[in-house]
């Protein structure tokens, strides 16, 4: 059967079968979810953040449930780019899905070194530059909350790779559009947003924070209206594609992001709620378009009536 709706979208040189990606940090390297879904039906698979050397991550507890959301402070625990390439990328090379690797670092040099290493890997279709993790002391969000720092790290990574470069933005700023413009000017092919909102929850029995690190990143449906607003602001400010995310659990949530300007979307916390969510969103999007006679899913992008 020929699909009634053309679901393909393009982010830089990254060609996707549909607009639905997985959000970094919620999908491991994909292998963890292979029992639950046909990964080839994802638009793209975005891996957990990878750094130059192994990172141990933060102390436990690392998560706390909050109304319509959760806080996390994992702290980018990962085995380092060499182990990642030797294990995860080798496995991902056997899968029929575009791979986007999330790149983390403490310093500009580390980001560039990871990007340079991944540039040599044919299985990697694109890099997502993580300048927005709220859970590490050095690097992470520090780069995403200052325009000059965001520009500097984007420039350094752009210099070492021709792969599609997506920069993941932090919502913990006064003007996210300004940061988006700064990274666009340095050659980013796309921006993705939002990373988690810095939050905190307290245990009233113990008088202690519920996360060992005190603060963490808020995700889930609780943050969706903030995310939609920010995608709306950024899409108007830049001419590169925008990947929208924040609390997507169903196709209609994804449609919201596309209407305000997202070319693609990512499902994160929704996958924890139900591992079938990313594919359900992709299928629902197709149905949504078919029911409205939209021949191409890209017709939703920026179709907001204002």
């Amino acid at each position: 059967m020929t699909p009634a709706v053309d679901m393909r979208v393009r982010i830089g040189a990254l060609e996707m079968r549909n607009p639905v990606m997985t959000a970094s940090g919620t999908f491991g390297s994909g292998r963890e979810y292979a029992d639950f879904m046909d990964l080839s039906r994802l638009g793209a698979l975005v891996t957990k953040g990878v750094s130059l050397l192994p990172w141990a991550g933060n102390d436990s507890p690392r998560i706390a449930e909050t109304p319509s959301g959760m806080l996390n402070s994992i702290g980018l625990q990962n085995p380092g780019v060499e182990a990642f390439a030797a294990n995860d990328l080798v496995w991902l090379a056997t899968q029929d899905v575009p791979v986007v690797v999330n790149v983390s670092g403490h310093t500009v040099e580390e980001y560039a070194a990871v990007a340079e290493r991944l540039d040599a890997e044919p299985v990697v279709s694109a890099l997502e530059l993580n300048i927005s993790c709220p859970n590490v002391d050095e690097g992470g969000m520090a780069f995403g909350t200052s325009c000059p720092a965001a520009a500097q790290v984007t420039r350094a990574v752009r210099a070492v790779t021709d792969k599609t470069l997506i920069v993941k933005l932090s919502p913990n700023v006064t003007d996210i559009a300004e940061v988006a413009r700064a990274v666009e000017a340095e050659g980013a092919d796309a921006v993705s947003l939002i990373n988690t909102l810095l939050g905190m929850a307290i245990d009233t029995n113990t008088f202690r924070p519920r996360l060992a690190r005190g603060v963490g990143g808020l995700s889930g449906p609780a943050i969706r209206p903030v995310a939609v607003r920010m995608v709306w602001q950024v899409a108007r400010a830049v001419s590169i594609p925008v990947v929208g995310m924040g609390g997507i659990t169903c196709a209609e949530d994804a449609v919201e992001f596309m209407l305000v300007g997202a070319t693609a979307v990512a499902v994160g916390t929704g996958t924890f709620v139900d591992p079938r969510t990313p594919l359900a969103v992709a299928e629902g999007l197709e149905r949504f378009c078919a029911e409205r006679g939209l021949g191409h899913v890209t017709k939703l992008t920026g179709a907001l009536r204002e």
Partner: protein, 292 residues
């Protein structure tokens, strides 16, 4: 090499199943036993594995809750749970016919070493939760099983009828002396280890208890396995919420555990268990939280 690596070939893949409540009863003060019809999970689950249950939907329940499978068979799984927070309160009120989404079977469960003739099970509080299948399986293999169980009071001892039917010997300790010895279960274990000379010790309960049993086992030169509890989000190894510090680095309780070799665990300084219970009530691939 992790447990997940070594066990993957023989383990049935986890799946998502609509699990229907068949019965749900209070079996001790603050503790319930729920029976689900979940034939696909029941067919594959091994002792010490868990299911990740979506107890309720709506704004208050973004995360699933992990529960050890106490027993399984005939298309059914049983879960022992302690009411410690919002999620387990909803579970306690679930009527027969209620359907919940379950992911399972998950995790690496108990391992029975080749040639085991005698095993010691040490359960503190809800630590009995992952031990029903284990006790049955050991007995079926002709292993002589001794159970040491601790609880705050006699009314909180769990499943003693089941354990007494399959164990060669049972010993109890209660904080108030209403059953067995007065004190913690760890006051019983040195004598049982010396008398029975078990080939393996299985422990589950509050982490301080497991730490003490692990030390006692190490001192006696007996291999010991522990089932650990952590807050969990994905339950399948992706999110790294549930890590346990080990000599091989931080391992995921959901796929590398929840059962770990005690000798590999780097025990953390005592945390306040109330914190866990409040954030994700009933999170218990290992024990749920001791209430007091």
């Amino acid at each position: 090499m992790t447990c997940a690596d070594t066990h993957t070939p023989g383990r049935p893949a986890p799946l998502v199943e609509r699990a229907s409540v068949l019965a749900n009863e209070r079996v001790a003060e603050g503790v319930g036993l729920v029976t689900f019809e979940a034939p696909r999970i029941a067919a594959g689950v091994q002792s010490g594995q868990f299911v990740h249950l979506r107890i309720a939907e709506g704004a208050e329940f973004i995360l699933r809750r992990p529960f050890s499978v106490f027993r399984a068979g005939a298309g059914r799984i049983e879960i022992l749970y302690q009411v410690v927070g919002r999620g387990t309160r909803v579970l306690a009120e679930a009527e027969p016919g209620t359907v919940m989404d379950a992911i399972g079977p998950l995790g690496c469960g108990w391992r029975i070493p080749e040639g085991t003739a005698h095993a010691l099970l040490v359960a503190g509080g809800l630590g009995a939760a992952p031990m029903g299948m284990l006790a049955h399986e050991l007995a079926r293999r002709g292993v002589a099983v001794t159970l040491a169980q601790g609880a705050p009071t006699a009314a909180r001892l769990l499943a003693h009828e089941l354990f007494e039917s399959v164990c060669r010997r049972t010993a109890y300790a209660t904080d108030d002396g209403t059953a067995g010895a007065c004190g913690f279960v760890t006051t019983l274990t040195p004598e049982l280890i010396a008398a029975d000379r078990p080939d393996v010790i299985y422990a589950c309960g509050p982490e301080p208890m497991q730490r003490i049993v692990a030390a006692q086992a190490a001192g006696a030169g007996v291999p010991c396995q522990v089932s650990l509890e952590r807050l969990m989000a994905c339950g399948v190894g992706a999110c790294l919420s549930c890590v346990v510090s080990t000599v091989h680095g931080r391992k995921r309780a959901c796929v590398d555990g929840p059962v770990f070799d005690a000798a590999e665990v780097l025990w953390e300084p005592a945390e306040d268990p109330e914190t866990h219970g409040d954030s994700v009530p009933g999170a218990s691939p290992g024990p749920a939280v001791e209430a007091s």
